[in-house]
């Protein structure tokens, strides 16, 4: 992996040590090879403990910090002027836009010392090869897309993109979330990221599939829930998703699903969403009971293979969908094998064209784009920006505003709650609750020593945690080095601690992703044991459940 050869690695809003442990092995190999490692995270995470420098910013001030780093790179004359002139647009406007973000101003907004911001700016800009890696600490904000663009600005200022060892590295959270997008499981894309609203692309698919494709973009998940509220969306076929547990503001999500005329759920477990369904299709596990492919964070397509038969009535998902199509009157689909489906994809998605099934078997994995059978696959993207003249669309600087989390802190809700992940659990826990992890400690709300003392709370105490959406009972865990005013918890155990009853319902309008990373909360001593008993009874009223094989926390 290229990160082993980077000189500077910036993990920004990523606790890869927990969430992407094997990627982090490669990052540590890079450190062993001489790279300096920075982490940018409100918490001093397990990842931060391996870093040369930790920038503990205030939750939701990533754009401000990025602008401050950008301004310092510009002010210190460390920009790659040749790259900016030939490969980017909007530089002059950007320079003016970030001018107010002096080290002092940035420090006052982000809580990061000016000297630390300066060090990061200089190290990143002067490195030969530098990478910025990020995860949900960047994307699960109401400014998620803008956050990403603010990091892209840094790579454009310095030319740290499109070169071996340098780049922008979003770490994907699920084994095939990339592949889902590749295949066109997005409201605005056909297979191979071809636009639904591109008439030419659509005509190609219509000819290949012998059908008519709606000419306008569909809804993303958040828009679908909004459409349920307007009664415009009346039927949902939900495959491998458990929104009852994974959506922010869970009470609202459940209410929306209850409005539907028809809910069909296809899943490997009887999730709490499946419990609500009119029809449930039990599905085979994708990774151990089915044949197919998955695409990882590096765009590497790899084969998944069935090792065991599915239990009971569970079936391969391809077969379920084909039979459903036949019952709906289209019985021309036959029973194609995964290989036949893959070969069809290759005829309509140029970036997969060269990836024959035989090559995937023989080579173990190929990174797209791979247009022809003699193409080796592509290790990194955007090399076109280094052609002279640069090929394709030039890369634009983005003048994005720093906007704090929408769930504002007030006297009533004075603490900032951010959701995080444990090493041994995964999303809503449906897949990981079945193995007896010796390091699993269950759910707890971590709080700083200072805040605990101010509230008169002790480690292990049961409390009521409230937000503007709801209130739940939790156990607190006092964490000595946590920033004052910051709390964190995982969301791996929704059956016992339904965190998403209190998470923020703010959404990034550009991505549809909820602001899981920034809720405003209050912690109260448990008024009486009765309150907790009542909460327990409320939970018992819910159907018992297991959860989500993929979750929405992409």
């Amino acid at each position: 992996m290229e990160i082993e050869e980077a000189d500077v690695i910036v993990m920004w809003g990523s606790n890869a040590r927990n969430a992407h442990p094997i990627f982090f092995h490669h990052a540590l190999r890079g450190v062993a090879n001489g790279a300096r490692l920075w982490t940018v995270d409100p918490r001093r995470t397990g990842t931060a403990k391996f870093a040369d420098h930790w920038l503990g910013l205030n939750v939701g001030t990533d754009i401000g910090l990025a602008h401050g780093v950008a301004r310092e790179i510009i002010a210190a004359g460390l920009t790659d002027d040749e790259f900016i002139a030939n490969a980017t647009t909007g530089y002059e406007e950007f320079v003016a836009f970030v001018e107010p973000w002096t080290l002092e101003h940035t420090s006052s907004v982000t809580g990061v010392p000016a000297e630390a911001i300066r060090d990061l700016a200089h190290a990143y800009a002067t490195a030969d090869k530098a990478q910025i890696c990020w995860t949900l600490g960047i994307t699960e904000h109401h400014t998620g897309v803008d956050n990403v663009q603010s990091l892209c600005n840094l790579s454009l200022l310095t030319g740290h993109v499109g070169r071996w060892g340098s780049g922008l590295v979003p770490l994907r959270g699920q084994n095939n979330v990339q592949g889902g997008g590749d295949m066109g499981a997005l409201p605005n894309k056909l297979s191979g990221f071809q636009d639904v609203e591109d008439d030419e692309a659509r005509a190609k698919f219509e000819a290949a599939w012998e059908c008519t494709i709606p000419p306008t973009n569909g809804w993303n998940l958040t828009q679908m829930f909004e459409a349920m509220g307007r009664d415009e969306l009346k039927a949902v076929y939900c495959i491998g998703e458990n929104p009852v547990d994974s959506e922010a503001d869970a009470v609202h999500a459940r209410a929306m699903l209850e409005r539907l005329d028809l809910l069909v759920v296809q899943d490997v477990f009887m999730t709490r969403t499946a419990e609500m369904a009119d029809v449930v299709f039990p599905a085979a596990l994708g990774w151990a009971e089915s044949d197919g492919t998955a695409t990882n964070s590096e765009r590497r397509v790899q084969r998944m293979r069935a090792a065991v038969p599915p239990p009971g009535e569970a079936r391969q998902e391809v077969g379920i969908i084909n039979d459903l199509a036949a019952l709906m009157g289209d019985d021309d689909w036959g029973q194609p094998t995964p290989q036949e489906l893959w070969d069809e994809l290759r005829t309509v998605s140029p970036m997969h064209g060269g990836m024959s099934w035989d090559r995937l078997e023989a080579e173990g994995g190929i990174q797209w784009p791979c247009p022809t059978e003699d193409h080796p696959g592509t290790s990194f993207l955007h090399g076109r920006l280094w052609e002279r003249p640069a090929q394709g669309r030039l890369a634009p600087f983005s003048c994005v505003d720093d906007r704090p989390p929408l769930d504002v802190l007030t006297d009533e809700f004075p603490l900032r709650l951010t959701t995080v992940r444990a090493l041994d659990s995964y999303n809503t826990g449906v897949q990981t609750e079945h193995f007896p992890s010796p390091i699993r400690t269950g759910e707890a709300l971590s709080i700083s020593t200072t805040d605990a003392e101010a509230l008169g709370l002790v480690d292990g105490e049961r409390v009521t945690v409230s937000s503007r959406r709801g209130a739940i009972a939790m156990t607190i865990e006092v964490e000595e080095h946590l920033a004052v005013g910051l709390c964190h918890t995982t969301f791996h155990f929704p059956e016992t601690t339904d965190i998403n009853q209190i998470t923020s319902d703010a959404v990034d309008p550009k991505s549809g992703t909820a602001e899981f990373k920034a809720a405003a909360i209050r912690i109260d001593k448990l008024a009486s044991p009765v309150a907790e008993d009542r909460a327990a009874e409320d939970r018992a009223g819910d159907p018992a459940s297991t959860n989500d094989p993929v979750g929405t926390h992409a």
Binding site: M1, L28, W164, G173, N296, Q302, L385, F435, I439, P549
Partner: protein, 286 residues
């Protein structure tokens, strides 16, 4: 401009079993043997770990060297003359196997270990009655539901320490403790595994050559007499959790997963996994 840089390497020429051989600078004698198809036994070496050259079973004779040298860690030098199958080499390798197998239970060692012992005519029994030796008479450590540590099978090859440390996991939960005959692999202050720094990635199990470290599932099936490798299949697939794309080798018996490994030559994992990839498969049989 999407090119991956090509490394320019200097080649080194030397004599290997009487043949002139050229290898890239920095290659070890073992690398050269593997390229030339000269089978060489190893115990403490693995392709995904830094050589620690403690077991001495890969030794070869180098002209001008007073002692035999470990091929796994000695880089080839220009003009070096190496012999891999002399009487001195064969005797030394046989003695290594005999000494190890006389103090350690080797019956679950990798099959190739037994093949090499036969090849060299190793007779550990000539070292005395093994059952009386303290290292063999140890109870199996079972401290959680994922691992067992059966140190009567430990040959102190240090592979687990390397995999737990800076060759992969960087957790440093285990190291060697004690000296001489008392040397053994231990957690800090010999605390139980759940109380140690261990994060249960199982990468120590993945590299153990003798079965001293094992999945609890394997241990339980062996105890019950149901473990049967001849009835097992291995299927390579992709881990169901995060997006890194680790390849898993699912070892299955009677339509159930019994163990998970990862290929050492896979560019993503180099054979190493995390707790979710190694042990998070149990929902397949929930």
């Amino acid at each position: 401009m999407n090119e991956v840089p090509v490394m320019v390497t200097t080649m080194v020429e030397f004599t290997l079993d009487g043949e002139a051989v050229r290898v890239p600078e920095g290659a070890t004698i073992l690398d050269a043997c593997q390229r030339e198809g000269i089978d060489t036994p190893t115990l403490c070496w693995a392709e995904n770990l830094t050589p620690v050259n403690v077991c001495r079973v890969c030794v070869v004779e180098v002209e001008g060297s007073r002692v035999l040298v470990p091929s796994c860690s000695r880089p080839v030098e220009e003009g070096m003359v190496v012999a891999t199958d002399t009487e001195r080499v064969r005797t030394s390798r046989r003695m290594v196997y005999e000494l190890l197998a006389s103090s350690v239970e080797m019956d679950r060692a990798d099959p190739e270990v037994h093949a090499w012992m036969e090849h060299y005519g190793a007779r550990p029994e000539r070292m005395g009655d093994r059952s009386e030796i303290a290292t063999v008479a140890q109870p199996v450590k079972i401290q959680d539901d994922l691992y067992v540590r059966d140190y009567e099978r430990c040959i102190l090859c240090y592979k687990c320490v390397e995999a737990c440390g800076d060759d992969a996991q960087h957790t440093f939960a285990i190291a060697t403790a004690g000296r001489g005959f008392d040397a053994h692999i231990s957690t800090e202050h010999d605390v139980t595994l759940p109380d140690s720094a261990c994060v249960y990635c199982g990468n120590c199990i993945g590299v153990c050559p003798t079965g001293a470290l094992a999945f609890k599932t394997e241990h339980d099936m062996r105890e019950a007499g149901t473990w049967d490798e001849s009835e097992q299949q291995v299927t390579t697939t992709v881990c169901p959790f995060c997006g890194v794309g680790c390849n898993l080798e699912l070892h299955t018996q009677d339509e159930r997963i019994v163990k998970v490994t990862s290929p050492a030559d896979h560019s993503v994992t180099h054979g190493h996994l995390c707790i979710k990839g190694r042990f998070g498969w149990q929902h397949a049989h929930a």
